[in-house]
């Protein structure tokens, strides 16, 4: 079947098998390997992307269902070398270790912040329930999401995929983070 999708700002028209999952289309056809697969039961959230501005697990969507849609992956978040505030907050708060869950976690966190611009800890924890992380114990992820909330302009959300002021991640010159 023929589909046309826009992924991270680029339009693609492709023939796909009806059974092809969106995540496999992204990874194998488009080379968008920043989005990863962590399970086969839609439990882990590693594959989370935005479909028309809302987070979906791309392993539970068929590529053909995305026909005509706009998709944003982790690779499409930063613009002109500027990280998205949620990406920056994950770095600043040490919200990742191995980083395998991170693309999905960041995409889900952005969606969560679109629903609630100033979530409390419990809201963040519940909002990330579908995304598993085996490394961090979640505490720094929760902290990062709340930190990002405080940095983001009210109303900025997935539709906008906006980028607020920030520094570049390379070099890690902003050394100190809060310690408990």
């Amino acid at each position: 079947m023929r589909i046309t999708v826009t992924v991270d700002g680029t339009a693609y028209t492709d023939e796909v098998e009806p059974r092809t999952l969106l995540v496999h289309y992204l990874r194998e056809r488009l080379g968008k390997v920043g989005t990863v697969v962590g399970c086969d039961t839609s439990n882990c959230g590693a594959c989370t992307v935005h479909l028309d501005g809302h987070s979906v697990k791309s392993c539970s969507v068929l590529a053909v269902q995305a026909d005509g849609c706009e998709i944003t992956t982790i690779e499409g978040l930063s613009r002109d070398g500027q990280l998205h505030p949620v990406q920056q907050a994950f770095h600043d708060n040490h919200a990742l270790q191995c980083g395998f869950c991170t693309p999905g976690m960041i995409m889900q966190a952005i969606d969560l912040l679109a629903d609630d611009a100033d979530p409390d800890e419990e809201t963040v924890r519940n909002g990330l329930e579908g995304n598993l992380c085996r490394c961090t114990g979640y505490q720094n992820i929760v902290r990062a999401v709340r930190d990002a909330a405080s940095r983001m302009e009210p109303g900025s959300g997935p539709e906008a995929e906006q980028v607020a002021e920030q520094t570049s991640v390379a070099g890690g010159s902003r050394a100190e983070v809060r310690q408990s």
């Binding site: 098998e17 990874r27 390997v33 920043g34 989005t35 990863v36 697969v37 962590g38 399970c39 086969d40 039961t41 882990c44 590693a46 992956t73 690779e75 930063s78 990280l83 990406q87 994950f90 770095h91 600043d92 040490h94 990742l96 270790q97 191995c98 980083g99 395998f100 869950c101 991170t102 960041i106 800890e121 963040v124 924890r125 519940n126 990330l128 329930e129 579908g130 995304n131 598993l132 992380c133 085996r134 490394c135 961090t136 114990g137 979640y138 505490q139 720094n140 992820i141 929760v142 991640v169 390379a170 070099g171 890690g172 010159s173 902003r174 050394a175 100190e176 983070v177 310690q179 408990s180």
Partner: protein, 813 residues
């Protein structure tokens, strides 16, 4: 060139690794795609124990895009046997371990055939066309039954399901007395049996292997913790010379011991690539990972703890059955043995005996999982300390205090034959109790108990230590391990003044690129950003023993320090020549070589350039500052800490809520407090998950019923509380950095803290144990019927098993 202003060591540097990980610019093995690459799909046995009477692959071979269908029989001549590096006794029984089963399958999930096809989808489709006839064999699942007379056998050729029995006896070792005498001479003897349920490491990145045979060397990318060991073992198994194998561990998405393995799929993919002359990739699904990647824990632990009436511990006897599963993988037999030295924990006692029997069953093989043997030991002894305290009507912290090694008693020779170099249990405990509000919580507990509140409060303690920094090679040799425990590092000083660090450790989330940069920046006085860390590729990082056992910093970090010292020594000679002074007059600090008592100086970058161009070097000095070092530790390191957990247990529903969790860990010198805290958080959640959620369950036919992330309950953010973490810093004396290691601490300490808190909450209702995972059903049953009910059937829940077999026989005598 000025030096970094503040010391790098001790600073919460944000991680270098993050830049690629938060933007999706990662090199997971499954992201690698090579021209002409083929894909492998693996057919796995649905049977736990069966003879393969016939395999028909003819239809699969005809399927679209299929290049080859290969069975165990096809590979029998070249696949050898998967390595087990740890024959714990001379008479250990070890079955052959083919990568692909040849004529029998011994666990459900074992690989029996593979398809190689143009695409992964075509390979998977063709699996369905393979037809296999199995003849049932009796399935062995229960360890006690497995070692009983007349039991059905997993491997009939071995004549027994008992692989080996390993004994430590303090009387024989000379490190203590005879345990039976100590028990006989004691006032109080507590006996308990605990079930350490089987766990699944569940790293988030599924395993993947790509093998490219088209170069002069066969290159293998693998999602592994151990690229160096993998190269060595692949050579040993296949007979391909080590020089013809290059292994690369690119970005690796977690391991926790689960990727400390030479897997059947790595060997098979290697052989297929060689046979077909094309790059070949295998990536597992999560369901394959759950059933076929090695599992962890799975022990039945019987403990006897003897003390005087005033609470002084006299002796401890530990009798273990450890489930190997169907095969002995890389370090399977040694995992419970790593615990042998830890059951005595931080306590002084006269006598100690440890007896472990390793048992075969028709289940997925077990092997290292975060802590490997030591969490099991810590769980058991910390549970026993609470049981003894209850028996003596003592406060459990008071009992611990009475028995632990005091800070002025270090270095301390333990009853298990180790020497603990340093520690301060008093300091960590005092800080933890204060942060926790111990006394106030005890008061609230009494008040709720008084009031008969439906929600009862429990306080759980775990004052743990662990041996890590694996490991002194001579000790590994004495334990019959097949390799050494040293680590290697090299430093390259480039002409531009930049520094390349090569390490034999192999990070998969720990942040070595950042921390190693901090150490080298401090040692050489170069900017943090000027240091690049190379790892995980046997071509650039040619020598190493990889990452596991909280060893990377204590052993690999020390190798780095020693290599830097050599760089400085070489630079000193050239600097003296450049500045026309005696080598003895050179002072080095902050990257600057200064002539003592003068203003004349030069920096290490200039010296590196001078060495590189080599226009004017002293006679006999080689034109290089580059240096390498291999460090073999003299001793293990012994992090310790005090973990306190408050749980609220709803006595009407059995629901457990962690109300607060405070830990104070002493991991020695902290190089990066942010990373250390992250390691503790992650470790805590894995340990708490064992206490509350996780358990690999097999049904009576040997099928894993917790084979997906929907059934095997890896906790989410919503299941976990926030933690209060803190540190004391007692330096290790076994390495120049004073570091001890932090990778496993949280996991080791937290499980008993949580279960102790649950039991403490309902002990007044007659409960003295709840089997893990402490599901609401089990907690509720325990409250209804005392401990026996808690250990009752429960086999249908996640984590169900044998139960705490003779909890009812415990108590004073």
């Amino acid at each position: 060139m000025t030096a970094t202003v503040e010391p790098e060591v001790g600073r919460a540097r944000l991680r270098k690794e993050d830049a690629r990980l938060i933007t999706g610019r990662t090199r997971w093995t499954d992201n690698i795609s090579l021209p002409g690459m083929l894909h492998v799909a693996v057919l796995r046995s649905p049977m736990a124990h069966a003879r393969i009477s016939n395999i028909d692959v003819s239809a699969a071979k005809e399927a679209s895009g299929v290049l080859a269908v290969v069975t165990g029989a096809d590979l029998a001549d070249e696949q050898g046997s998967l390595p087990c590096a740890w024959p714990i006794t001379e008479d250990m029984k070890a079955p052959p371990a083919p990568a692909l089963a040849v004529d029998t399958v011994n666990f459900a999930g074992e690989a029996v055939a593979v398809v190689v096809a143009r695409s992964a989808a075509e390979a998977h489709d063709a699996l369905e066309a393979i037809d296999i006839d199995y003849e049932d064999l009796p399935v062995v699942l229960d360890m006690n039954e497995a070692i009983a007379d007349g039991a059905d056998l997993v491997h009939p050729d071995l004549g027994s399901n008992a692989s080996a029995t390993w004994i430590f006896d303090s009387a024989e070792a000379g490190s203590g007395g005879d345990v039976e005498q100590a028990i006989a001479a004691s006032d109080v003897v507590v006996e308990r049996t605990f079930r350490q349920q089987r766990l699944i490491p569940a790293f988030m990145e599924p395993r993947s292997v790509v093998v490219d045979p088209t170069g002069e060397q066969i290159t293998m990318w693998s999602a592994t913790q151990i690229p160096h060991i993998l190269r060595w073992m692949t050579s040993a198994v296949t007979g391909v010379p080590e020089t013809k194998i290059r292994v690369i561990a690119p970005d690796v998405g977690g391991g926790f011991g689960g990727k400390l393995q030479i897997t059947p799929e790595e060997i098979v993919t290697f052989l297929l690539a060689r046979r077909l002359g094309r790059p070949v990739k295998w990536t597992e699904s999560r369901s394959e990972s759950m059933v076929s990647a090695h599992h962890g824990r799975d022990q039945i632990q019987k403990l006897t703890l003897a003390a005087t009436q005033d609470g002084t511990i006299k002796g401890l006897k530990v009798e273990l059955l450890a489930d190997m599963g169907a095969y002995l993988r890389l370090v399977t037999p040694g995992v419970p043995i790593l615990g042998a030295f830890m059951y005595n924990a931080i306590y002084k006692m006269d006598a100690y005996k440890f007896v472990c029997t390793n048992v075969f069953t028709n289940k997925t093989p077990t092997d290292a999982y975060r802590g490997a043997g030591r969490p099991e030991a810590t769980y058991a002894i910390e549970r026993m300390m609470d049981e003894l305290a209850a028996e003596l009507s003592m406060d459990p912290m008071e009992l611990r205090r009475k028995n632990w090694i005091k800070h002025e008693e270090f270095p301390f020779n333990t009853v298990a034959g180790l020497t603990y170099d340093s520690g301060n249990y008093e300091a960590a405990t005092a800080k933890a109790m204060e942060d926790f509000g111990y006394d106030a919580l005890r008061a609230e507990q009494a008040e709720r108990r008084e009031r008969g509140d439906a929600v009862q409060l429990g306080i759980g303690i775990s004052t743990y230590t662990e041996m890590c920094g694996l490991a002194p090679s001579r000790v590994l040799g004495a334990l019959s391990y097949g390799a050494g425990g040293w680590e290697h590092a090299a430093i390259r000083m480039l002409p531009t003044g930049k520094v390349e660090v090569i390490t034999g450790t192999s990070p998969h989330g720990q942040g070595h690129e950042t921390v190693w940069s901090q150490i080298v920046a401090d040692k050489l006085g170069v900017p943090f950003d000027d240091v690049e860390v190379l790892h995980g590729d046997t071509q650039s990082s040619h020598k190493g023993m990889d990452s596991y056992g909280s060893r990377s910093l204590a052993v690999g970090g020390t190798a780095l320090v020693l290599a830097a010292d050599k760089v400085i020594d070489k630079a000193r000679t050239i600097a003296a020549h450049m500045m026309e002074c005696s080598v003895d007059d050179i002072e080095f600090s902050g990257g600057s070589m200064k002539v003592r008592g003068t203003d004349t100086s030069t920096d290490i970058q200039s010296i590196a350039l001078q060495a590189h161009v080599a226009h004017d070097l002293p006679d006999g000095v080689e034109p290089s500052l580059d240096s390498e070092a291999t460090f073999d530790p003299e001793n293990f390191s012994f992090p310790h800490g005090t973990h306190l957990c408050a749980t609220e247990v709803d006595t009407e529903t059995g629901q457990v809520r962690i109300r607060s969790y405070v830990c104070v860990d002493d991991v020695g010198k902290v190089v990066n407090p942010m990373i250390v805290e992250g390691q503790v958080h992650g470790g805590l959640v894995q340990g708490i998950a064992q206490a509350l959620f996780e358990g690999a369950v097999h049904d009576e036919s040997g099928t894993l019923t917790t084979g997906t992330l929907a059934d095997y309950l890896v906790p989410s953010a919503a299941d976990m509380p926030s933690f209060t973490t803190g540190h004391t810093e007692t330096l290790a004396t076994s390495n120049p950095l004073g570091v001890k290691g932090v990778g496993e601490a949280g996991t080791i300490a937290s499980t008993p803290a949580v279960v102790n808190a649950i039991v403490d909450a309902v002990r007044h209702r007659g409960v003295n144990d709840v089997e893990m995972p402490c599901t609401p059903m089990r907690v509720w049953q325990a409250i209804q019927g005392g401990s026996q009910a808690a250990a009752g059937p429960g086999g249908t829940e996640s984590g169900g098993g044998l139960g705490s077999l003779d909890a009812s026989q415990g108590g004073a005598r």
